[in-house]
C-alpha cells in the first residue's frame, strides 16, 4: 500500500498518484529540539542526506548538518561559477552565429570550449587596479556584494521535487527580493569608482532596478495565485503532468504576464536592451569602467548567475519547472521504470533518477531562457533611460496589474477561462476543487468533494 493512499479512494486517484513521485525528503522522525527549531525556522522539510549521515554513518547531528550545508554550498557555487563559464562561451558562440561568424574556435578544440577558462586565467593575471580617486574599501567590496546577492537567490531555488538548498515557504518572494539586492553592489561600485561615467551608470541602475521591481512583483503574483502557494516546490509540483498543465497555458492572464515577467526580468538583471548601467556607447562601460581582472569578472559572474536565476524562476513559475512536457521525461519515469524493472515505485533509486531527469529539465528550460536573452541582446538596439522608465511605468506596470486583476477573475470564475486545455489536467491528479492555503471555497460544493480535496491537500503537504 502506498503511503498516503487510503482504501476506498477512487481508483483513478490511486493510479494518478503514480504520476507523482514521492518526495525525496520526508520529515525527520527523531525530534531534537535545537536542530528542529533551527530547521523549522528556515525550512519545512527534513533532509534525507542528513538522515543518511546520522543513521548510516553514525555521525553526530551537528556534523551531519554541517556536511550537508557544505555539500549544498559546493554544488551551488559550482553551478553558478560553472554556469558563468558556460554562458560566457555560449554568449560568444550565439553572438557569433547571429552575426554570421564563428565565435571562438581555437581554445579547447573545435568549438572553443575552453575559451572562457583561458579568458579567466588572463583576468586572474591582470593587474588589480584601484583608481586614485576611488573609495578603496567600497571599491573592493562592491563586486562581492553583487556576487553574493546573485548567489544567495540560488539557496531557495528548487532544482527538482524537494531538491532545494533551503526550502522556504516564501521562496518566490525571497528570490525576487534577493535579485533586487544585486543593484546595491552596482551602486556601490559606481559610487566608489570615483569616475563620472561609473556614477552615471550607478544612478541609472538604481532608478531602473527600483522601478522594475514593482511590475516584477506584480507578475509573480499571478502564478502564485494559480498555485495558491509561494513555495516554489509546491508551485512546480502543481504543474505535473503534460505541458498543458503549465501555468503559462493556464489562462490568458498568465500567458500575457509571462512576457511582462520576461521583460522585467531582463531589465532587472541589466541585459540589453535595458543594459543602461553599462551602456558602452554612452558611458564607456558604466559602473564597471574602473574595474579590471578578477573583480570585474565577479560582476560578470553575478550577471550570468542572475540571468540563469531569473530564467530558472520563469521555468518554475510558468513552464512546469522540473516537469517535462510529457510526464515520461521527468516524474513519469518512476512508474515507467518500476514497471520495467519490477522495483517498487517507492524505491529511492527511481525517485533519484526521476529527480535527476527533472533537474535536467529545469536547467534545459533555464538555458533556453538565457539563450533568448542573448538573442535579444544581439538583435536590438539599446533603449534610452527615460524610455526604459516609460516602458516600466506606462506598459509593464499597467499590464501586470491588469493581468493580476484578470487572474483574480479567473480564480473566482474558472469556467470563464477561455483556455480549456488546462482544465483537462492531463496526466496529473487534481481534485475537482482545491482547498488552498488561506483560500476559502467560493462556490457551494458537496461535502464529499471537500473531503476528497482535503485528502489531496494533506498528501501534498506530506510530500
Amino acid at each position: 500500500m502506498l503511503p498516503g493512499v487510503q482504501v476506498g479512494q477512487p481508483v483513478a486517484h490511486r493510479l494518478a498518484y503514480l504520476w507523482r513521485a514521492p518526495a525525496w525528503g520526508r520529515p525527520l522522525l527523531v525530534e531534537r529540539s535545537s536542530w528542529d527549531r533551527c530547521r523549522r525556522g528556515l525550512s519545512i522539510e527534513g533532509n534525507d542526506v542528513v538522515e543518511f549521515f546520522e543513521a548510516t554513518l553514525n555521525w553526530p547531528s551537528w556534523l551531519a548538518w554541517t556536511a550537508v550545508a557544505l555539500i549544498q554550498c559546493f554544488l551551488l557555487i559550482n553551478l553558478v561559477a560553472g554556469g558563468a563559464l558556460f554562458f560566457i562561451w555560449l554568449e560568444r558562440k550565439v553572438a557569433g552565429r547571429i552575426q554570421d561568424r564563428l565565435g571562438p574556435t581555437r581554445v579547447g578544440g573545435k568549438f572553443g570550449w575552453l575559451q572562457t577558462l583561458a579568458d579567466g586565467i588572463k583576468l586572474l593575471a591582470k593587474e588589480d587596479i584601484v583608481p586614485k580617486e576611488a573609495d578603496p574599501f567600497l571599491f573592493r567590496m562592491a563586486p562581492y556584494v553583487s556576487f553574493t546577492a546573485s548567489f544567495c537567490g540560488w539557496l531557495a531555488l528548487p532544482f527538482a521535487d524537494n531538491w532545494v538548498g533551503q526550502r522556504l515557504n516564501v521562496a518566490v518572494f525571497f528570490i525576487v527580493a534577493i535579485v533586487g539586492l544585486e543593484v546595491f553592489g552596482v551602486i556601490l561600485a559606481g559610487y566608489a569608482s570615483g569616475s563620472k561615467w561609473s556614477l552615471f551608470g550607478a544612478m541609472r541602475e538604481a532608478a531602473q532596478v527600483v522601478s522594475y521591481e514593482v511590475p516584477l512583483g506584480l507578475c509573480i503574483v499571478v502564478p502564485v495565485m494559480i498555485a495558491g502557494s509561494m513555495d516554489l516546490v509546491t508551485i512546480g509540483n502543481k504543474q505535473a503532468g503534460y505541458f498543458t498543465n503549465w501555468f503559462i497555458f493556464h489562462d490568458p492572464a498568465a500567458f500575457v504576464v509571462f512576457w511582462v515577467y520576461f521583460t522585467c526580468a531582463v531589465a532587472s538583471v541589466n541585459r540589453a536592451p535595458f543594459d543602461l548601467a553599462e551602456a558602452e556607447s554612452e558611458l564607456v562601460a558604466g559602473f564597471h569602467t574602473e574595474y579590471s581582472g578578477l573583480r570585474w569578472s565577479f560582476f560578470f559572474m553575478a550577471e550570468y548567475g542572475s540571468m540563469l536565476l531569473v530564467s530558472a524562476l520563469a521555468a518554475i513559475l510558468f513552464f512546469g519547472g522540473w516537469h517535462g512536457p510529457f510526464p515520461i521525461i521527468s516524474q513519469g519515469l518512476v512508474p515507467a521504470l518500476a514497471a520495467m524493472t519490477g522495483a517498487s515505485v517507492d524505491s529511492p533509486v527511481l525517485v533519484y533518477l526521476a529527480n535527476l531527469a527533472g533537474c535536467a529539465n529545469l536547467i534545459f528550460k533555464a538555458v533556453i531562457g538565457v539563450t533568448v536573452m542573448m538573442w535579444v541582446r544581439w538583435t536590438l538596439p539599446r533603449l534610452r533611460i527615460d524610455q526604459v522608465l516609460t516602458t516600466c511605468l506606462k506598459y509593464c506596470v499597467p499590464l501586470a496589474a491588469l493581468c493580476f486583476l484578470a487572474e483574480v477573475w479567473f480564480q473566482l470564475y474558472p469556467h470563464t477561462n477561455p483556455m480549456p486545455l488546462n482544465r483537462l489536467q492531463w496526466g496529473a491528479p487534481r481534485a475537482s476543487i482545491e482547498v488552498r492555503e488561506g483560500w476559502l471555497p467560493l462556490s457551494p460544493v458537496s461535502p464529499d468533494d471537500v473531503q476528497e480535496a482535503q485528502l489531496t491537500h494533506s498528501q501534498e503537504h506530506r510530500g
Binding site: 553572438a95 547571429i98 552575426q99 554570421d100 561568424r101 563620472k196 561615467w197 552615471f200 544612478m203 541609472r204 540589453a272 536592451p273 543594459d275 543602461l276 551602456a279 558602452e280 556607447s281 554612452e282 558611458l283 564607456v284 544581439w378 538583435t379 536590438l380 538596439p381 539599446r382 533603449l383 534610452r384 533611460i385 527615460d386 524610455q387
Partner: protein, 401 residues
Amino acid sequence: MATRLEDPRVVEFDVRTDEMLVNMGPQHPSTHGVLRLVLRTDGEVVSEVQPHIGYLHRCAEKIGENLTPRQWIPYTDRMDYLAGMNMNLGWSLTVEKLLRYELPEKARHLRVIICELGRIASHLVGMGAYGLDLGTFSPFLYAFREREKILDLFEEACGARLTYSYICPGGATADLPKGWLQKCEKFLDEFAPVIDEYHALLTTNAIFIKRTAGIGILPAEMAIDYGCSGPVLRGSGVDFDLRRDGEPRYTSMYDGYAFEVVVQKDGHYPRDHKYPPVPKEAVLGDCWHRFYVRMLEVVQSMDLVRQGIEFYSRSKGDWGTPIKLNQKLPKGEAYLETEAPRGQMGFYIVSDGSSIPWRVRARSSSFCNLSVVSELCRGCLIADVPAIVGSLDIVMGEIDR
C-alpha cells in the same frame, strides 16, 4: 518631460544637482575616432556640448605645399579613410581643373563606378557604426560583411583595401582588370536583397525609431547656415546634391546617368513606394532621416554603378593617362567641390607655376557637419549624444586633416 526637453531654452531641471563636466572622448567607444566632446550635464540632461578636435591633425595641407599633386594623393586617402576613392577623385578633379585637362570617356565611367562603390562602402560603415552607437552590434558586422566584398573589388583593381591612391589626375593608375565588371555585377546582385535585412534590423526597428526619430532635429536653414552638406543636408530636406548641382567639371562626369537626388519632397522620398515608410514620430531633419537618406543613397549608388558598368563596357578608348609625377602646373588657382559620401569635399589648389603647389587646402564635409553638434545636443539626454554624433557620420581623419 519629453515635451519640455524639446524647449531649447530649458537647460536644467531641479532637483538641484551641481552641473558636471564630463569628457566624452578622446578615448570613448562612441566618438568615431579621437573626438573629444566636453559635456556639461545636469543629471542625464546635457546642457552644453563643446567639441574639441585636432587630435588627428597631421598638417596635410602643409605637406601639400611640399609635394607635387600626384605625390599628395596618398594624403587624400587618409582624410576620409572610409571613402578614399572619393577623396582621390576630389583632388584629381581639382588638379585637372587647374590643368584644364579633358578626361577620356572611359575614365569618366570608371570613376563613376569606383566612386559610387566607395560611397556604398562608406555608407555601410556609417550605418553599421550607427547601430553600434545605439547599442546593437550585429548590423555592424552585417555591414562589414558586405563592405569586405567591395574592398575585395577595390583590391583587385588597385591592390589596396583602404588607402587606394587609385584615381589620379589624368584618369586612374590602371584600368579595371579583366572580369572585374562581372564580379561587380555579381556583388550588386547579391547585395540587393541584403539591404532588406538592414531595414529590418535598423530602419524599421521600433527601438531604433524610438532612439532616432525626433532626436537632434536640424532645420534646413540651420543646416545651410552651418555649411552642412551631404546626407546631413539632404536629411533636413534641402534638395541639393553636387552630382546634379555642382560645377560642370564635376556634373559632366554623370552625364547620361539617370538618378534622383535622395531628399524628402512633399513628404515623400523618391523611392518611397519600395522602401520602408517614414514613421510617424520622425521629423524632417532628425537622426532617423539622416540615416534613412544614407540607406537610400546606397540603393541610388547601386543603380549608378549598374549604369556605369553598362556605359563603361560600351565606351572605347583608354582609361586616361596619369599626369607626370612632376608635372608643371599652370599659374593660377582652382577650387572644386565634389559630393563625397559624407558631404561636399572641396579642394583648393594655388600654383605659382612650378610643379609643387603654393598652397593646398581641403574643405572637409565632416568638419562643417560636426560644427553643428553643439546646437543639436543642447538639452538632450546623454544617450542622445552618441545618437546625434553618430547620425552626422563623421570621420576624424577628414576633420583634423
